[in-house]
Amino acid sequence: MDQRWPLWGRQILTILRLELRKNFWGLRAIPMYFLALAPVLLFGARAILPLPARQAGEMGFAANVYAGMFQLFFLRLAVFFGCVAVFSSLFRGDVMEKTLHYYLLAPLRREILVIGKYLSGLVATVAMFSAGAGLSFLLLYVPYGPSGQNFLWDGPGAGQLAAYLGVTVLACMGYGAVFLAMGLLFRNPIVPAAVILGWEGLNVFLPPALKKISVLHYLLSLCPVPFTPGPFAFLTEPTPAWIAVPGLLALTVVVMMLACRQIRRLEISYGAD
């Protein structure tokens, strides 16, 4: 084994230790908490209210409610903006605070820095958004009593939950890589993030060929309960999981390679930023 691997491992752990503190307790964490916990608060409030009689025992209705919330709010807004806040700040935040040289003055391959920072963002976003997705899913079925319990643990509920959590992880990985690279490529990553948001938002109205040029299309394809966002949406066949998952992973790897290439050219010139 290359003797540098243990060194790289130690360096990545050190970066994680330093960055996780910022990702969980820094300013960049505030939008992440707010967005991840919003559906938990919503479904928590619903859990303590009595269920309308027409919804009692209607697991299909609950599954559709969650599918709508997950696809319209959680993926498109919460995870998206949470990843913008966390990942685009990983480098840009350090440049703004004039602290990036702390890393660049260590005998540290810059690619290792990219990987360490990316993993720190991933741990933070996956932890928060998986918790948000999972808790809100469980809270949704609380008012249904024993039939809800049955749906969750003996019916399709557990499988759906696992699928939503998997989609959340893939969303954090894909969007995370994209926004980390944006933070390295652009002085103001909000502008490209807005462009990507616009493109992802328009996705439902795009013809099938164009739909496939987006992260969201593949994430939606992996959701266990389909949800149609409106009468004007172009319907298209979901991409099979055996293409969607490797496709998202491949996108992540390619974008990370671009980010690694970019950081090798990065110069510290805080005055110019």
């Binding site: 230790r17 330093l18 702390y102 003055l105 260590a106």
Partner: protein, 312 residues
């Protein structure tokens, strides 16, 4: 391979000149970069440490490329002028984390961090947040970070800024100790009398160009437009003045008001010293002291860059 080499190095920020056509070979010892604000000192240091890459030319540090941080920063420590620190860290954590990034295990990192803090007298404040440190303490903890892994090359950007006189003296002793151990110590400073006192060599920079470099006496000799000034404390200065005026190298002689010495401006210091020796051996003079009056960094700086160089 044991020196710092800059060959035809230029750096442009877009159309703005950072440094241009710099050729330098820096041997071990203390080398000071001197120049006004914006002259290119920090750019040069950032080029030496790979924080910037040259637009043109090459930089090699002990034979290493600055584009290879993995190898470079095992040999180089850089105390930057950036007064910003990762949030929330104590002085100890700042050093220990930096050493962990070097790849040291936790025990060794802790030991080296404590050693570094001891070197800069910050042990008592080790567990305070760096954000609560005074300017001088922040400067010292940065200095500790730059030396804690035992580098062969120390690059120190304005390392004496914010230090009180006692801390300055300790820092200067530390630089001397590092240089005496055969290391390269490169310092940028505005404080010319301190530069004078500690430097083996100076590099004068102005507007991105190296104006002069070498040991200060050598640099002074390369400024022929300004005759060398020599102070002599002696008896009968009028006799010496008369003899000096017989020489064609003398430009000006001023006898001190107390009548116990004179200031000579000469274009040929060697000839003047020969004359002085002759007069002393002839028994016509009792010389108490002889010293060059402008053979120092401040004078060279004023002659080459100008008195209003900025920030001096």
């Amino acid at each position: 391979m044991s020196d710092i080499l800059l060959e035809d190095v230029s750096k442009f920020y877009g159309e703005v000149l950072g440094v241009n056509g710099v050729n330098l070979t820096i041997p071990p010892g203390i080398t000071s970069l001197v120049g006004p604000n914006g002259s290119g000192k920090t750019t040069l240091m950032n080029l030496m440490t790979g924080l910037l890459q040259p637009t043109q030319g090459t930089v090699r540090i002990l034979g290493l490329s600055t584009a290879e941080p993995e190898a470079l920063f095992r040999k180089v420590g850089y105390c930057t002028q950036y007064d910003a620190f990762p949030r929330g860290l104590t002085g100890f954590e700042f050093l220990e984390t930096s050493l962990r990034l070097h790849g040291y295990g936790s025990e060794q990192a802790e030991r080296l961090a404590w050693t570094g803090l001891e070197r800069v007298q910050l042990v008592d404040a080790a567990h305070q947040k760096v954000a609560a440190y005074s300017k001088g303490m922040r400067q010292r903890v940065k200095l500790a970070q730059s030396i804690s892994h035992g580098p062969s090359v120390l690059v120190l950007d304005e390392p004496l800024n914010g230090l009180d006189p006692m801390a300055r003296a300790e820092a200067i002793a530390l630089f001397r100790e590092q240089a005496a151990a055969g290391r390269h110590v490169i310092i940028s400073s505005h404080i010319l009398h301190e530069v004078d006192a500690i430097s083996d060599r100076v590099v004068l920079i102005n507007n991105g160009y190296v104006v002069a470099e070498g040991d200060i006496h050598g640099v002074r000799e390369e400024v022929p437009d300004h005759p060398l000034q020599i102070l002599v404390r002696c008896t009968h200065p009028e006799r010496l003045a008369a003899r000096v005026f017989e020489q064609n190298h003398a430009v000006e002689v001023k006898i001190h008001e107390d009548g116990q010495g004179l200031l000579v401006r000469t274009r040929n210091a060697e000839a003047f010293y020969l004359l002085l020796n002759r007069l002393v051996t002839e028994g016509g003079l009792d010389v108490e002291a002889v010293a060059p009056a402008d053979d120092n960094v401040r004078s060279v700086y004023e002659y080459l860059i100008g008195p209003s160089g900025g920030g001096i």
